[in-house]
């Protein structure tokens, strides 16, 4: 097909599946040859905007178990969409193999190409190559697993009633952040084995007790048990699933399901900036290369830049609609700057990034970063003074004893390193997930479960909310629960 015909095809704001196939041919060629990306096969789904909202509230999984939580999220998302608060994602993509991305039917051709480059190639490559995703998620089997999870929960509802199942799910959701393993490798049960598990477990109404609950008659054995668990357990849901004295088998399975899902999403919360930066940078490079190679018209590019600048728009702190740092902006700026300082370093760059300045193969470095870093380490290593200056970042200390805020660092020589460190720790998970672990179970006494909260930076837990969560945990544990 002649380039002028291709240009014309892309200039037509209405696309057909032929346009998509054509776009994919070009984008995939550039992505592999120019950027060296390595992606899962793509499944590109065409949806209405209502279906899009649906997917959004199911957190991007094409199906999930039924729960009022998703009803609420759907309604809230719809509400925000109507208010124009969310750019109703022209981008929603699932970490799976094949990689599923959604394209709304009323997207223009430019948007469609954008979704393709951003989601189907940018995010896709990230999911396939980033170490956290490789370690903690199984793209091959997640969809299948969700099918079974959904089916299993439905069967439980039929057998035990929707209210009872909902009660368990509600309790699990409140502990979702504490259902992940951060350091222990998950066991490698294949999906086939999981299926068999679920098939067998459905009618298991029994309460299979862990050994620790056996009554101990003899004194000497009593003294052997010092503390259970012998080391604090960070995966609270896992602990409850294995050790709760009162849960029935089917309830344990539900906890397990919620855990698995939480684990699946764990890397996403740790790589927001890096992932979005990767995808935004990818779509930027690909579309510009397409233009360079003569496939796109000026008109197309105008629309593209309009969308692109919307995505990376960062209001400054004093604007009324400021709502924090935009991860797309941050990620894109860092990657763009890496490209710049690799190909065209200044003296400052050479000082700050001696290893990579001037090495010329920026694509290789880009891929290396995508593979080996998460937000915290990404920013710590690669946030450059240039980006800090461009964004005019500054740090404000809020000491609760003072009645003023203090600006502790701005974008000058003495501030760069500190800003980098501060911003990096901003993305540390402990900043939004308090450190709570299982400390002890009173095995011989009232079976009380004791959770320990380790404060950080003098912060305490929000008491009101904690009071609401304890009953959920007590429901699962079956005995008193306290948090110290």
């Amino acid at each position: 097909m002649k380039k002028s015909d291709i240009k014309k095809a892309f200039d037509n704001k209405n696309w057909t599946s032929d346009t998509i196939v054509l776009a994919d041919k070009i984008v995939s060629k550039i992505s592999s040859q120019y950027l060296g990306l390595d992606v899962y096969p793509n499944q590109f789904e065409i949806v209405t905007s209502e279906q899009m909202l649906d997917s959004y509230s199911l957190i991007g999984l094409p199906l999930s178990y039924d729960h009022w939580k998703f009803g609420k999220d759907f309604v809230i998302n719809q509400n925000q969409y109507k208010k124009g608060k969310m750019g109703l994602a022209y981008e929603l993509v699932i970490n799976s193999n094949p990689c599923i991305s959604y394209n709304m039917e009323d997207n223009t051709t430019c948007l469609m190409v954008l979704v393709l480059a951003h989601a189907a190639y940018g995010h896709n490559h990230f999911f396939k190559n980033n170490y956290l995703f490789k370690q903690w998620t199984d793209a091959e089997s997640i969809i299948d697993y969700m099918v079974f999870a959904r089916g299993y929960i439905k069967k439980c509802e039929d057998k035990y009633g929707i209210e009872d199942v909902e009660r368990v799910l509600d309790a699990c959701h409140s502990l979702m952040n504490y259902g992940v393993d951060k350091y222990r490798k998950p066991s490698n049960i294949s999906i086939v084995q999981e299926k068999e598990r679920l098939n067998k477990k459905i009618f298991d109404d029994r309460i299979l007790l862990n050994d620790i609950w056996r009554t101990i008659p003899k004194e000497e054995i009593k003294s052997k048990i010092k503390n259970y668990p012998d080391q604090p357990e960070e995966n609270i849901l896992y602990f409850i699933e294995k050790n709760s004295p009162k849960l029935k088998e089917w309830q344990r399975e539900i906890i397990r399901i919620v855990r698995k899902i939480s684990q699946y999403f764990y890397p996403q919360s740790q790589t927001k900036v890096t992932n979005e930066g990767c995808a935004t940078f990818t779509h930027y490079e690909i579309v510009n290369k397409m233009f360079e190679d003569g496939y796109l018209s000026d008109g197309f590019m105008l629309e593209f830049f309009h969308h692109h600048s919307n995505v990376i728009y960062q209001p400054s702190y004093d604007m009324s609609f400021y709502s924090g740092l935009n991860p797309y902006t941050l990620g894109f700026n860092i990657f763009s700057d890496i490209k710049r300082l690799v190909t065209n370093p200044t003296k400052e760059d050479k000082k700050w990034f001696p290893d990579i300045s001037g090495s010329e193969n920026w694509q290789e470095i880009f891929r290396y970063i995508v593979e080996n870093f998460k937000d915290e380490t990404f920013i710590l290593q690669y946030l450059s003074p240039r980006v800090i200056r461009d964004m005019k970042l500054f740090v404000v200390d809020d000491n609760k004893d003072n009645d003023f805020y203090e600006v502790s660092n701005i974008h000058n020589d003495e501030g760069y390193k500190k800003i980098r460190e501060d911003l990096s720790s901003y993305f540390n998970r402990s900043r939004y997930v308090p450190d709570i672990q299982v400390l002890n179970v009173d095995v011989q006494g009232d079976r009380k479960l004791t959770l320990k909260y380790t404060p950080i930076n003098g912060k305490v837990l929000d008491n009101k909310i904690t009071k609401k969560i304890i009953p959920h945990i007590e429901y699962l544990w079956g005995f008193p629960v306290e948090i110290i």
């Binding site: 009022w68 009803g71 500054f394 909310i465």
Partner: protein
């Protein structure tokens, strides 16, 4: 490696309807509890309005997660866009101003909005009616009947020049075409005739040729008058009108002496709303007349009827007299009249009860149906008014003693079943 394109648009409505159902179920209890308050604030006629969404505040659907207390601990914020600050600058903290991200009192059109206290959910008319009926414990068929919207009929209304081909009126179109052709032919014929006359008088050869050419031309034009043109087409036109075309008037009489409490008034209001809903199935236009009385009777607006406080004893007959007067001056026989009186029965003295009965009997001959609803918590004593009314022996009158909402329906029931027999337009 090609791309796999999947078109999901033809799939029926999303998965979220199931989830929304669950959400609704969860807050069902709360919505139910909020209904009396909503009814208090809704005008009777509005119960039928399809446009408005009703906002119900809802608690208990938050999903708590362990979080830090916002006021504790030392925090660092990193912001972009520094314009003026240097290291060490201090900015005074504002006092708590309740600014929250993502919170806002959403407009009435939002589905679920986050406010400072939680969520409000808006439900549409049908959902609201479900809750409304639930309390009243109406039989299911009645519920279905009341919640369907009005029927419409089509009737012929002349002709239009555009429309659906199936509505083409062939005869009329043909007539139009004929008249057009005729008038054009006459036009040309006249012209040709004039020229032919001229031809007879003309001697000059050149001029003869010109005239003959002209005649030829005109004859050709006459031949090319088309048989049927778009302008001829005539389509049948239909208008829709709601069935039926009668009008009704509801006369609501309520005792507003001190002894009527809020919840008793609520029962009264529900009764009126139910009647109104029922009547909207039958009538295109329903007027409502509000008469309140204690010792004196007055016609008032709906707002005053339900809300303003007065006290005093109870005399009933002036109210019925007033109703009679209103009927004879304002509502001729074109209207079907329904009268409801709600009271706690405690009249001043017996002569009033007798007077009232006399008035009511007189009215019953003019109106379709009347109800006397005595709202009271104490069913053991029979009030003076009730004893008097019991003596009425007309079959378009019904009375009942009600102390809670579920007892409204039995009082209504006879009326419904009666209507069902006589009026085939009532579909169940």
């Amino acid at each position: 490696m090609g791309i796999n394109i999947v078109d999901r648009r033809s799939n029926p409505k999303g998965k979220s309807s199931e989830n929304r159902q669950r959400l609704l179920k969860r807050i069902h209890g709360q919505i139910k509890g909020a209904i009396p308050e909503i009814i208090k604030n809704t005008n009777i006629k509005d119960i039928n309005s399809t446009k408005d969404k009703i906002n119900v505040p809802v608690k208990g659907i938050d999903e708590p997660q362990f979080t830090y207390d916002k006021d504790s601990g030392d925090k660092k914020y990193i912001h972009p866009g520094n314009k003026e600050y240097s290291k060490g600058d201090r900015i005074k903290k504002e006092k708590k101003s309740g600014k929250g991200k993502g919170s806002g009192a959403g407009g009435a059109s939002d589905d679920l909005t986050v406010t400072e206290d939680g969520f409000t959910i808006s439900i549409d008319r049908n959902e609201f009616l479900d809750y409304f009926f639930d309390d009243l414990q109406l039989p299911d068929m009645i519920k279905k009947h009341l919640s369907t919207t009005n029927d419409f009929k089509q009737k012929k209304a002349g002709y239009v020049s555009y429309g659906n081909p199936s509505r083409l009126n062939v005869v009329k179109s043909y007539k139009n075409s004929m008249s057009r052709r005729l008038s054009f032919s006459i036009f040309f014929d006249k012209k040709i005739k004039d020229l032919e006359d001229k031809l007879l008088l003309e001697k000059d050869d050149d001029k003869i040729k010109l005239i003959e050419d002209e005649i030829e031309r005109l004859k050709k034009m006459k031949k090319s008058i088309s048989f049927m043109e778009e302008i001829d087409l005539s389509y049948n036109n239909y208008e829709i009108f709601p069935v039926p075309i009668l009008s009704a008037v509801m006369i609501c009489i309520m005792d507003v002496s001190g002894s009527m409490t809020e919840s008793l008034k609520d029962i009264g209001k529900r009764f009126f709303m139910l009647l109104y809903l029922f009547l909207t199935k039958q009538y295109q236009k329903i007027d409502i007349v509000f008469i309140r009385h204690h010792t004196a009777a007055r016609e008032v607006s709906e707002d005053e009827f339900f809300n303003s406080r007065e006290s005093g004893g109870t005399i009933v007959s002036p109210a019925l007299e007033l109703a009679d007067k209103i009927i004879s001056t304002r509502y001729s026989s074109e209207y079907n009249i329904y009268l409801t009186q709600i009271s706690d029965g405690d009249v001043w003295d017996n002569s009033d009860a007798i007077e009232s009965r006399k008035h009511l009997e007189k009215l019953l001959s003019k109106i379709q149906y009347a109800w006397y609803v005595e709202v009271t918590y104490d069913k053991s004593r029979s009030s003076g008014l009730m004893q008097s009314y019991k003596k009425i022996e007309k079959d378009n009158f019904k009375y009942g003693i009600i102390s809670n909402l579920s007892e409204i329906w039995p009082v209504f029931e006879d009326f419904f079943s009666k209507k069902n027999k006589t009026n085939e337009k009532v579909r169940y």
